[in-house]
Symmetry: C2
DNA sequence: GTCTATAATCCGATAGAC
DNA sequence: GTCTATCGGATTATAGAC
């Protein structure tokens, strides 16, 4: 990759972080790089090609934040460090986290590039592996690690998105605490043992009522 | 409200559902309504005014889906019905759920309108009330109902967003099941009792290591 | 490889006739 | 209340000189 193309990509990442998808234009990118707009086309086929590279860079960086956890010696250590890496990435690169979940169609792509899809699959497998080894260590409950991953993924993703959109009236450091505390609740559960009994009783009542309706 | 303004709002909601924020324009809206663009300006001050009404309609409908749960006779019944209403709304109005979390600045507003903010506050209070009455009924664990709400909110929001963006390879009905199953895991917790002991031991080791580093 | 100049669209919004 | 016509500006992208 030429130096100039690297410089363009770097400026494109900054520009995207500052202005998001709608504010991103080839003219502004050119001004940021210090050239005129047509010069960009010598290095990229068009706007979508630039955004595709920004997306790739986001995924690469995200994976790097997570995989750093593999340096820890224990399953629980890797698990906790991966969560830490996740929240670090969200706080330090909020727009990148956004572009990774914006959908390829918004970036002018019919299908996401193959290499990006394989990065996503690898990250998914990474989480499943973290969950499985914690199950084997007796730290997480038994069950399909894929399903367990979904629950934890949804919770982390929801926390990240609500923070990014200003739904929590907190700053970065407070958010780290909020995230950890909420994770602790997810770990130990929010319901009492009473819940399961009441809930199954309620479902039984519904079935009875439906049965009577026939 | 005049008939024509209602028709414009209806078409605007459809247009937004189909094309999202970037594809939404006054010209396309006019074509959908069956008039020319300037005619819209007789009923709305501009694009942002239309989008503001779309946003308001989304919040109104969302609240209606949730508040239907108040017809249930028990705390657990209201709690479960509210969750059902939430997921129904997400499945039936995915773009509306999106616009509600897109941030007012993306809609050309400095501040969200007061009436919309008060609807948001009311919905927030609705969830806290559902949690509190379930706590009082012994179905949810004790603790600050606001904090408990955050955890459940983040999980539900994350599930909704991941579904909307196609991260789950499932259709609508399968997603309902996925959501319920994941909620069940959130209720009962994902970690074993072993987790807390290991985790606090790990934190202690970290503190010791940090202490040695001084 | 970069420039100037420009084509071709799209946009929001307005003026004035009817 | 709607129309035609138009302004002023943004965008992506290209042609051709240097």
């Amino acid at each position: 990759m030429s130096d100039q193309r690297e410089k363009i990509l770097s400026c494109a990442c900054d520009l995207y972080e500052r202005l998001g998808l709608e504010g991103f234009s080839m003219r502004k990118l050119a001004k940021a790089v210090g050239v005129t707009a047509p010069a960009i086309y010598r290095h990229y086929d068009g706007r979508d090609a630039v955004l595709g590279d920004v997306l790739r860079e986001a995924h690469r960086t995200f994976a790097r934040y997570l995989y750093a956890a593999l340096g820890e010696p224990t399953p629980l250590g890797r698990f906790a460090a991966a969560g830490q890496g996740f929240i670090d990435f969200v706080i330090e690169h909020p727009r990148w986290y956004g572009i990774m979940h914006t959908g390829h169609e918004n970036l002018g792509m019919d299908h996401p590039p193959e290499d990006i899809e394989s990065m996503q699959a690898a990250v998914h497998q990474f989480w499943v592996d973290r969950v499985r080894e914690c199950q084997q260590a007796g730290i997480l409950k038994e069950g399909d690690p894929e399903e367990l991953s979904i629950t934890m993924w949804a919770h982390a993703h929801g926390m990240a998105q609500l923070f990014r959109h200003g739904c929590f009236p907190v700053q970065q450091e407070e958010f780290r605490m909020l995230f950890k505390q909420s994770n602790a609740r997810l770990m130990s559960g929010v319901a009492t043992p009473e819940f399961a009994a009441e809930y199954s009783a309620m479902l039984r009542d519904v079935e009875v009522a439906v049965g009577q309706g026939d």
